[in-house]
């Protein structure tokens, strides 16, 4: 099929800023975006910069934005993107500085991984043989270990993007999905003895509660790691471990309590309950919003589900089961 690759080029050695260059070719049906890029690099333009190695979605080198979303070039077939005669836009990953063409500086990514102390920390004497642990626990962790550190999730993380857009220095930005999925791999490991410390650290600002739940990382992860789901699991583990003195936990609890009481969500008390009723420092900035909403008739008594007693019964019974 005939296809054009519109590639974002950038060479810091030239005086030119980033620009787009279009390469047209006749691509066989089986061609992936990586096949096409390699074809360009080898046959027409040796100056094109990109990283790639394994060609089979295991080394994590070739994450880039393809038609606006982070993908592994080696796993993305052109025929799935466009029809004959179409165009595919290829850009470097987002949220990381571009070094040259499709090559980004991954340092911020690795720094975040490093920040979660990513190694097993057992305590006490090592057993002579292996640790005896259930296979299900290992299977769950293997799901997280599927991560190939390609950076697709960090590229398309909306929270990180907002932070960088508003000028937060990269070392102060939040941990972002990959590092948190990596953290989950240790928190969920029955052999690790530092789960509480880890969860406490992860519950700080810039950790698990900063995730906005946008599903971008689940959507773009090429290995089914579902980082956001891991973050949600970390939240659950943190709360179960009793690490609850944060807005995130209070927000979740307020949500839960509202459903239990009314069968519905009561947005009115959600904010004060989340930041704490007496937390003037954080409540104050929210006050204008509240006042505006009051004026517009948007603050009303909670709407209640009919037969809400039944909902409360379900909540109580499942909560009880969970406790057990």
């Amino acid at each position: 099929m005939q296809v054009s690759l519109r590639v974002r080029r950038f060479d810091p050695e030239s005086n030119q800023g980033p620009y787009y260059q279009t390469y047209s070719m006749d691509a066989p049906d089986y061609y992936t975006v990586l096949d096409a890029l390699i074809h360009i690099r080898e046959e027409t333009d040796g100056t094109l910069g990109l990283r790639c190695s394994c060609r089979s979605a295991i080394c994590g080198s070739c994450a880039m934005r393809i038609d606006g979303h982070a993908k592994l070039a080696c796993k993305t077939k052109i025929i799935d993107l466009t029809a004959d005669g179409g165009e595919v836009t290829v850009e470097p990953v987002g949220n990381m500085p571009v070094v040259k063409d499709l090559i980004a500086d991954m340092k911020p990514f690795w720094d975040k991984i490093r920040a979660v102390d990513p190694w097993l920390q057992p305590e006490g004497p090592e057993p002579e043989r292996e640790y005896v642990v259930p296979n299900e626990a290992m299977q769950d962790l293997a799901g997280a270990m599927n991560c190939i550190m390609c950076g697709a999730c960090v590229s398309d993380c909306t929270v990180l993007e907002a932070e960088l857009n508003r000028g937060v220095p990269v070392e102060k930005t939040w941990l972002a999905p990959a590092a948190l999925a990596k953290a989950y791999r240790f928190v969920g490991d029955p052999r690790d003895d530092h789960q509480y410390d880890r969860l406490e650290k992860l519950s700080d600002s810039g950790g698990i509660w900063d995730c906005t739940h946008c599903f971008e990382c689940i959507e773009v992860c090429p290995k089914g790691v579902a980082p956001m789901d891991r973050i949600m699991a970390l939240r659950d583990k943190a709360v179960s471990a009793g690490i609850t003195n944060n807005n995130g936990t209070r927000h979740a609890k307020a949500f839960h309590d509202s459903i239990k009481a009314y069968g519905r969500l009561d947005e009115v008390t959600l904010v004060p309950k989340s930041v704490g009723f007496f937390n003037i420092r954080e409540l104050l900035p929210q006050m204008p919003t509240g006042l505006r909403m009051l004026k517009a008739g948007k603050l009303r008594l909670p709407h209640k589900a009919e037969n809400k007693k039944k909902i409360k019964q379900i909540v109580d019974s499942l909560d009880k089961e969970q406790m057990e």
Binding site: D11, P12, E13, Y30, R41, E42, E43, D45, G46, T47, G49, L50, R51, C52, S53, C54, R55, S56, A57, I58, C59, G60, S61, K75, K77, V99, K100, I103, M106, W110, I113, R114, P118, W119, L120, P122, E126, E128, R129, E130, Y131, V132, V133, P134, N135, M138, Q139, L141, A142, M145, N146, C147, I148, M149, F186, D189, R191
Partner: protein, 574 residues
């Protein structure tokens, strides 16, 4: 000038394992790697890692594992090296588990095993079908914990050898193209294999034999380089590997007639008793015979996983489900997937002793380069002989990685400090400048590399003859001449991959030459090396290793005896 006690080149599983062990000795260790460590090709090992872990009631033993390995090697493996790898396998698995590897468990929560080719008992420990990746990432965690210095995306251009001793390397920072001399008392090569010398190949694009060729040029001999393994199950389209673990879990190999052909008695090469779990060389050869006899499907035979069931595939073979889906458009739960043999691994490499030393400490008469170590696929400690058993390669990286790290750590404590000039760096700089300044003559390294790879596959492949091998050597000579004039388009300094691949091609041409010449010299058939003109194994003449030494005029061939401890060669049947 940058300086370290131990410099490890390559950050795959072997290199990282060396670094961890050497660092434990209290010496200054650094790792240099042309890709980020977790991008290394150890990732691609899928099926598992072998060990006869002593367990109550298990009939398995390290001796049984060793015998399987000796037999698998078609009696070319050095039995001292094989004994060590099999004896030390158990503790190594336990150590990996303690580091954090999330090995699959059995129903009691203990380590679980799966069957693998050429093995008498099930002794392959695994993490789904991502074992290499799971091990590599855990090893990288350990390196992060140890805070080891890593030169990431640096490409070694030369080893520095003075007075017969390796004293460091010249390396290029790929981000800037700047050359640096890195001085080291010990250099440990852990640069992986040379699979890209062949096209197609299961290997990643980075597997270009860099260390093998550089050690060879620096004076270290290469051993058994003709022993190139074809993996029986690779995808036609891009050569991607589908793990032997699939057959370990019970998958079938079928020809176009739907017959499990390995059971067929019509050919002496087949494996009626072990069937799909015979050694890789046996199965690859059988597949090729089926394909050549017209019983294939579009140049392939079929791997049938359907009867394994969805649950097992989900838990244990998920990656290959994805690979088959992505690259062959086949759902292995529903249909058999076309596969064919593909170049996968090189048993040969830089000759070392059982501690990874690439020089002759014990008076074996093979020379080598003092201060130089090698480990992993680039090395030939010779635990694999003429054919490596599946799941022994990961094992080799950790067992011999630890040993080499330990030995290198001790070695540098004793080694004197020497002055080092930057002459080699100046040489490399002018060599590179010359390449950059070449006028465009219409030729491209990519075209030359493809030609070399396809030629190697057709003339130095599963079935070899004198005529083909001589032809191959002739072509390699032409290619080497042509290579000297191949220009590059990219004249820049920042991530100039055009230049890097050009340099790699030069190294690959060396490997190609030694592989072809070693294959020509071995006038018998053994393991992965099959000569149509010498179809039998010849223990009388060829129970020995081929050795290749660099000379400016081309490789000089020699031989070394095989070390036999307790298993005398007998007929090999599966």
């Amino acid at each position: 000038m940058l300086e370290h006690d131990v410099l490890v080149v390559g950050a795959g599983l072997a290199g990282l394992r060396v670094a961890i062990e050497a660092q434990k000795q209290g010496v200054d260790v650094a790792v240099i790697t042309k890709v980020h460590p977790v991008r290394s090709h150890s990732n691609a090992a899928q099926g598992g890692i072998n060990a006869a872990l002593e367990q109550e009631g298990s009939p398995d033993s390290w001796e049984a594992h060793a015998f399987d390995t000796v037999k698998g090697s078609d009696y070319l493996g050095d039995q001292d090296a094989i004994e060590i790898i099999c004896r030390e396998a158990g503790p190594e698995i336990i150590e990996l588990e303690h580091m954090g590897v999330v090995f699959n468990r059995d129903e009691t929560g203990h380590l679980g095993v799966r069957a693998f080719g050429g093995a008498t008992y099930s002794r392959t420990f695994f993490v789904g079908d991502i074992t290499g990746q799971a091990l590599l990432h855990v090893m990288y965690e350990q390196v992060l914990k140890a805070n080891t210095r890593i030169y990431e995306e640096w490409f070694v251009t030369s080893l520095i050898v003075e007075d017969g001793v390796c004293r460091g390397v010249v390396a290029m920072d790929l981000a800037t193209r700047r050359l640096h001399t890195i001085k080291a008392k010990a250099v440990v090569l852990a640069t992986g294999g040379a699979g890209r010398v062949f096209e197609p190949s299961t290997n990643a694009l980075i597997v270009t034999g860099d260390g093998i060729s550089q050690a060879y040029r620096a004076g270290a001999p290469l051993m058994d380089m003709e022993m190139v393994q074809f993996h029986p199950t690779t995808l036609k389209q891009n050569g991607a590997l589908l793990t032997e673990g699939a057959r370990g879990e019970g998958a079938y190999l079928l020809n176009a007639e739907g017959e499990r052909f390995l059971g067929n008695e019509r050919n002496q090469f087949y494996a009626p008793s072990k069937m799909e779990l015979a050694a890789r060389d046996v199965i690859s050869r059988a597949e090729q015979i089926e394909i050549d006899a017209g019983r294939g499907v579009d140049g392939c035979v079929l791997l049938d996983c359907r009867h394994l069931g969805e649950d097992l595939i989900r838990e244990r073979l998920w990656q290959i489900w994805e690979l088959a889906m992505d690259f062959a458009n086949v759902d292995i739960m529903k249909d058999p997937v076309p596969i064919r043999p593909g170049v996968h691994y090189i048993m040969g490499g830089i000759k070392t002793d059982v501690d990874g030393r690439a020089w002759d400490v014990n008076g074996g008469g093979w020379g080598g380069v003092k201060g130089l170590f090698a480990v992993g696929e680039c090395a030939c400690i010779n635990a694999h002989g003429a054919n490596r058993l599946g799941a022994n390669s990961l094992l080799e990286t950790v067992v011999y990685g630890r040993r080499a790290g330990l030995t290198a750590g001790f070695y540098v404590k004793e080694a004197p400090t020497a002055l080092l000039s930057e002459a080699k760096m100046a040489d490399d700089e002018s060599r590179i400048k010359e390449i950059i300044s070449r006028p465009d003559n219409g030729d491209r390294w990519a075209a030359l590399r493809l030609e070399m790879g396809e030629m190697m596959n057709s003339q130095v492949g599963i079935f070899r003859t004198k005529e083909n091998l001589e032809g191959a050597l002739e072509k390699i000579q032409e290619m080497k001449l042509r290579y000297r004039h191949v220009p590059i388009q990219n004249k820049g300094n920042i991530f100039n991959t055009d230049l890097q691949f050009h340099l790699e091609l030069g190294l690959m041409l060396d490997c190609a030459e030694v592989i072809a010449l070693s294959a020509l010299s071995r006038e018998e058939s053994r393991g992965a090396h099959y000569r149509l003109d010498f179809p039998a194994r010849d223990d009388e003449k060829w129970l020995k290793h081929t050795m290749a030494y660099y000379t400016p005029e081309g490789p000089e061939m020699d031989t070394l005896p095989v070390t036999i401890t307790q298993w005398e060669p007998t007929e090999r049947k599966y």
